[in-house]
Symmetry: D3
């Protein structure tokens, strides 16, 4: 891989590891901006909003630039493609999600002209709206920003 | 989470961590059957075959039972939904993948009647068929078996 | 076909034939568990719930096992792919469905190790939310259980 | 249902019943034009061509009118959506189909101004390119013509 | 192109040009029936209804014939595939649209037996439900009628 | 619209208008970089390559920056979603395309920090691989670059 920083791998580790497990990877997080959050919903719009809000509140993206919102939005949707595997809907398909998510922004490539990229990862459960009737799910989206 | 073993998380760690990084998680792998492999291709059929072959060669699934092939196949396709984000094709869409994959089989739930489940994870790169013109990608599929 | 019982064909006949027409096939139903029901809605979630409820009430699947719920859910979604042809949504796409459905559980394969499988079939109409502005639709999903 | 002739149901019966089983429905076929055929392939293009060729050879559609080819083509694709459940590809997704198909053309509605419609049904198996590693599949498409 | 009238191109021009810009193309509109409208919504159902209502009110399609409603509906959905690029939903995916649309009905082919066809075009913006956070979008659907 | 330059509309006009018709819009092209091309194929990969090659040869994107290739690639795919309406494949679905395409790069927004964006438009025909058995198709994709 011609990448010096694997923002996707960092995003998936932040989303899926416990704080303790993540310790071993702490030093690799120094070169990126990142944040994490949680969202549980049958409403896809709320999942998207939770990530967008976290990104803006933690200043991972520039609040008033559509350009950055656009880059993040498509990274979120690609992550949701992985979470929903096939059709990006949740409640309409009679299922619910409980997700931890992470957003990582950094410069993955050696060539500085490749600029900044953003990764969004989700890890948690998807299943019937009944406690315990669920399995794990994961999604990762990456975009230039 | 009502699961005692997170086979999805184990699959994603096996697919994405280096051998050294994976050491910290070794003990949690004792309760599952797993294998890993690599595949690089513009041909989706080869990616699917690589996982199926690895699963059979490592006796993760029973070679002659269609039931198990069927469970694995759908887990692979769900993982590929995450890798390809939107449309499960590679070469036809003028892109190529270089992937590590893992297959984990185990009993994630406390209730023994929930039986065995299988997780398939992919981690690697997707991009133009030009060296370096690629970014990370990840996919996870889970099914009862 | 290496199958001794075609659960998919039985499901489609139960969903689409009248009671009278179905008489000729009655004897073939002795070796499977099955039930049928009706649902009309612009809400996909209600269609899914109607099938899940019928399956549980008629003890086609084991109520408290997520494993069985999971198998049924994916069979339902595959049936809905046939009904909706392209995008699994109804009301959001300004259309409504009036469906009869059937669920068939049995052992289709000669080899007893292939175990039980489940088929879900839908037959009815899809169209504009205006009386008569509709055509027939059909869907079949099959999964191991 | 405000339809006097259910061309979709007729198509599904022709595609899935044996000649003997179909006898009971023979009289209902008098009011429609129909044909049937078989195709086994890992190549989706061959499946589409087999139906188009049968339709033209049996004069179900007018050979030189694009209008009729267009109506048939979309009915075929909708039937394939049911067969493939999610993504209309076969070999690329490492699976193969063995299908019987039927094409029915008629006037389903009481109002003569509703004109002619066409139904395409597929019934058979889909699975791994290994004998016996397959399950049933069905698809139905309907269009005005 | 074997078409004498490009109803698709006319539809896209009516949807995207200003009245002044459209002047140069006025004469080519003499041979078709057409109308235009506007719709802004996070609700896909409202977008579909706006086009259907305009088509009926302007007598582009015959109000009480399902055949014509069916032809228009599929042309609308194909136009929406272009607008939404990937998944035909708006609000559920946390985005909103502001669209001008046009409907053109005519005889595009030299051969009179090819009959009438209908084109639906959308042009406008899609984006976050925040003023200015949006980019252009376009969609075109065509069907025989 | 808060945009000063509608790069999407310019792209659709370049792709669909004749040279003569485009004259009236010439002055609006002064503020953007653009190119156009043609491609006819049953192979989606060739369509994608034709646009990528034209973009690089005409220096619309920077040849050696993956960042720009990535932005263009996703704009192309979104345009192809419009062209193929539903499933981005051509030959596999037994159809062929004959397309003119355009690529427009510019600064659509008043705020200079919104930077450059790229639009890709396709206009032409899609249909059976038989002369004349085709109708018009259009697609537009837009991305930040």
């Amino acid at each position: 891989m011609s990448q010096k920083i694997t923002i996707g791998k960092l995003a998936l580790l932040i989303a899926s590891l416990s704080d303790e497990e993540l310790q071993a990877f702490r030093s690799t997080l120094d070169d990126v901006a990142f944040c994490q959050g949680k969202v549980g919903s049958m409403n896809l719009q709320k999942v998207i909003s939770a990530v967008e809000t976290a990104a803006k509140r933690n200043r991972i993206i520039h609040d008033s630039l559509y350009r950055e919102t656009h880059a993040l939005y498509h990274a979120i949707l690609e992550g949701i493609d992985g979470v929903t595997r096939g059709h990006p809907s949740i409640g309409e398909m009679s299922r619910t999600v409980g997700l931890r998510f992470s957003i990582v922004r950094g410069r993955p490539y050696k060539d500085p002209d490749e600029g900044e990229w953003i990764a969004v990862a989700f890890y948690g459960t998807i299943g019937a709206p009944v406690k315990g009737a669920e399995h794990e799910t994961f999604g990762l989206g990456i975009n230039h920003i």
